[in-house]
Symmetry: C2
DNA sequence: CCGAAAGGTCCGCTGAAAAGACCTTTTGGT
DNA sequence: ACCAAAAGGTCTTTTCAGCGGACCTTTCGG
């Protein structure tokens, strides 16, 4: 009777502090390229209000990111806080025990992506799909891995946007952030990227036609690609 | 350039307190029937350790649930904290602004369920599917709505278990809790339940055969059923 | 009838966060 | 050339959640 179910119920309760969550939010946004190099953040007072935290807490977070080299702050009128021109690479430090959680993150990714895909097949509008197309073109047109990755992230977030669900956009952003930490650590031969982008293109086509079932299955295989590449770099499963 | 993306990045940072999360965890588990009426909770000192919180915080949470009638506490040796024989119904108070968030919760549900289904199609073992079957039988065999709902919840969580993903089990539990708040508020004619359970049965069959694409699409329609019923009870969308 | 096992009470400490006043630097506009 | 506005930088005060632990009270099993 007891057992499995209770494990979930009585699992430790986590409570990240506002400070931690803010660092994470902004850090992820920068590493994903959602806040591109050189971008200016809103003034501290305004940003604090938007994030619903006090300025002091926000500043602690900003300070952390300045010290880690992700942000630059300049004073005076016309100054502000900017994303560094060359944000530091994803720290390998985070990869310490990644193997442990990696597999779970990937499961979550499957969920969020599949859900977004399903709903996008129902709700996507012309403009959503056109946007996805242009991202596919962008990926096809570059041979720089960082550029590719940024566009890739925007593509997947774009699917959530096409699903017209703010909640899924938020979840997708979060998941991409965590998956990105993994992906950035491993080499990606151009051939893999080409194949991957071909799948992107087919996904958009399937969405256009509203073929939800096929889209979800192709998506699954798309993600499996990542998983297989990662498999070689993670601790053996058993 | 800015706009949509920034909305997500600069959205308010939420930080639920440990106390709040604990009340939610236990409250949901009770309302879902994962902790059935009469069940005994572990001693406070032990439970606090398991949840990774101090005993004082845990006690505040327990006190809340005792006052709300979900739990009963008896002192002395052989005493303990128990789930009330007849936990109070889901408060309609929570339904205040449910309309607002309801739609987003349902999107999240689609994601978690679809992901679990996809992975279950790959990973489910005989025993997982057999367990699902017996839950379907259980639902077929009762005409009491509360019994049905409890089994239904366990069915959907069972899919996540069949996916062999602890993360998805946790997410599914959470999502079911929130969806349950909605479902409990609306009438469910027996006819609807029968139809719904027929879908459950077909889902298990599709899982057995590994037909991921079909399973996901049927699942989508299954959830749509809930959505349509809810639609009549929620504030108009536009 | 005692001691163990449970819940119930209390208190003091720490650290996160909020709120706000104020300082310093820089520059755009007049 | 100025100066006011707009930014980041600094400080102080207050509040509150949560921790940790000592201790009390009730009840029952052996």
């Amino acid at each position: 009777m007891s057992g499995r179910a209770h494990d979930a119920i009585f699992e430790p309760v986590r409570s990240p502090t506002a400070f931690e969550e803010t660092v994470e939010r902004l850090g992820v946004a920068i590493q994903l390229g959602l806040l591109p190099p050189g971008a200016q953040l809103p003034p501290e007072r305004e940003l604090a209000a938007r994030l619903g935290i006090s300025r002091s807490t926000l500043r602690r977070a900003l300070l952390t990111l300045v010290q880690s080299g992700h942000l630059l702050a300049t004073r005076g009128r016309g100054g502000g806080t900017f994303v560094a021109p060359e944000p530091p690479p994803v720290s390998a430090g985070g990869a310490r025990d990644l193997g442990a959680r990696a597999l779970e993150v990937l499961d979550e990714r499957v969920a969020v992506e599949a859900g977004a895909m399903l709903l996008a097949a129902e709700r996507a509008e012309r403009s959503d799909l056109d946007r996805l197309d242009s991202l596919v073109d962008e990926m096809a047109g570059t041979s720089d891995f960082d550029d590719y990755r940024r566009a890739d992230v925007r593509f997947h977030i774009g699917i959530a946007e096409a699903a017209h669900s703010a909640r899924l956009v938020a979840l997708m952003t979060e998941v991409q952030g965590r998956v990105g930490e993994l992906i950035a650590l491993i080499p990606h031969p151009e051939e893999v990227l080409t194949r991957s982008n071909a799948q992107h293109r087919r996904l958009v086509t399937l969405l256009r036609r509203g073929h939800a079932g096929h889209a979800v299955q192709l998506l699954r295989r798309h993600i499996e690609g990542t998983e297989h590449i990662l498999a070689g770099f993670l601790p053996a499963k058993e």
